[in-house]
Symmetry: D2
Subunit: 201 residues, 4 copies
């Protein structure tokens, strides 16, 4: 993987709360195993970033229980989501921001929309961003496009992003590739690149 | 078509200059006829909007010949485009903003990014926007999403938007429909709705 | 006081933590009494807004202890300020956001800069904003100007805003009055206006 | 003058059209001579910037004759202003953008509000901005503050900015100095600094 200048890892809406938990009397599904495996890849990547002084920034969609801040998000395919206090709203188990890392709530899809993300990336003098999280076709896509429009080099880690459907995931990745031809990478690509970076002393 | 509150028609990057012109010695292609037909549908819709007091706002992507403002747009699938002075950069023949209408240049994909569009929509107290133009999967899609994030009701006129490919056009429309389920309309739908509006006295 | 349309009260950086506390062995100063009196006027106004269904939005400047998000704020007249964990950073004692109210952190002066405030005001369909807090000449002024640029009617409550100095406070209020001639009001004006609003049932 | 990194000169609303012209039968006023002298200093500085490869960016406030885009700007101390087609709206005689320079219309006070200025400064990899134009206490001040909030080093050329009054000019410069202590410079300071820059080959 080739990447340019200072780089920041952005974890987009990697929520879901207690994703390790399997309710009593239920069998784990293929979907469960996939979600846990993706979380484990995220965890390993975040850990390697921290060891290499690549800042990690956390984005979390949240809405008030009264839903006055939900905008037009109920006019589409989703019902109320990411409501404060609901069990799926916290960041997925096993992924924990440190006190030094920026943990940014958002009310819309793009991580740049109505947030301090631009300020934070400027603080880190970032030229490139690596994206993981979900949905590939909603929050990750629109964050990638907004990063592109702000002149960042964008890398989306294709095996650590999940879509609202397999087809939507594929379509969105193709859209990201359309605007930046080298933007699709795997977690192995990023890991190999990180291994070449100077370690923190 | 159902639509809410004050409405504005946004013509996104309907560029191409002399699209009626067929170079000497060439035969018109199917693509040529399709482009001209779409322009004619746009022209009719714009005319009907003006008769009904629906404001028309014009967006045009432009870049300086020195390309310093092109950002990351050369990192993707397109070469230099919409350069000042190039023959395809002007708005398509037959479509002409009036002096009273806002004609807004932009440097990126979304018509909201680094432009006065938000100011203009607020000036018109717009609650809904109707989008025509191109590409469906780039400037129209990202403008639609940004309008959605700003709480506008969005209507995309499916037979007056064109994509970078047929597949990309279809994928993008599906993405718009995902976020607002009633957002896809035809020019006939809009025309019928306009016919029900009170005429200007 | 005349005011237009839906109105929101914005509490800007009313911070300072334990402002009631007088350290052992010290005498309360005039400055102490003034700060407490202003807080009490704020408290009464907030309470009256809640009783009248005027939404209250809370803004709080915060910076990480590592100060990477401080931008150019150390190039001026102030040292590090509003750092997480410092005693003066919390909202002043006696002023407590409810769970339903938006409590918005910010990294810069204007409450609109890199925050969700625009989203929140749109959610409330606000046309007017009432500002209290501090400093009159920094965060209140630049929030007032940004509100003005976004077409809000602005009211600054002159006896519930404090400046970096008396002169700077006066100069800033004059600047707000320059851009909106009816923008300067007293807490008594607002209270009388609130008393005329229909009470919550 | 000390300045950091790539620098851009921003000419803010240096409008007024035919400022050299003295109507028949009138005597030139002190105000006339002052305006012309300031324009001449601006002209010299712009010329020296061009010789030294410091990009010049032009900002011009404009409003449509129908004034729908004027926002709340009639609620203050000014009547309609900067209207397209009015004689004082064009950039002042003698100041002429080149085709390569960005010439950015705006609808509000801050040169960043609803404009492409952020894109343009990013294109130039600017770290510092030098401001000239007017009014010191309105468009220059709010542009300076927005530049500061975006982490730019700001330099305001005190003898090439004019205020809505002498007092307002002085108050605004003090406000800029409050946020960046080294921000106030003279045209001689800038000229001496430019003379030290490597000339274009």
């Amino acid at each position: 993987m080739h990447i340019t200048g200072s780089t920041v890892l952005i974890v987009v809406d990697f929520q879901g709360g207690s994703i390790d938990h399997i309710p009593d009397g239920q069998q784990p599904t293929a979907d469960h195993f996939e979600r846990v495996a993706m979380r484990d890849r995220a965890k390993a990547l975040i850990s390697q970033c921290r060891d290499t002084d690549i800042p990690v920034v956390w984005i979390q969609e949240v809405h008030k229980p009264h839903l006055q801040d939900i905008g037009r998000e109920l006019d589409g395919s989703e019902g109320p989501h990411c409501v404060e206090g609901w069990e799926g709203t916290p960041i997925a188990d096993g992924l924990v921001p440190t006190a030094d890392e920026f943990h940014i709530p958002k009310r819309r899809y793009s991580a740049f929309f109505g947030t301090e993300l631009d300020i934070v990336l400027k603080a880190y003098k970032a030229e490139s961003v690596i994206l993981i999280g979900g949905f590939t076709d909603i929050c990750v896509l629109y964050t990638a496009i907004d990063a592109h429009q702000r002149d960042f080099h964008v890398r989306v880690v294709t095996d650590i992003v999940g879509g609202s459907s397999k087809q939507a995931h594929d379509d969105a990745l193709e859209m990201v590739r359309y605007v930046q031809r080298n933007s699709l990478v795997t977690s192995d690509d990023v890991s190999a690149w990180l291994a070449q970076q100077p370690a923190l002393v």
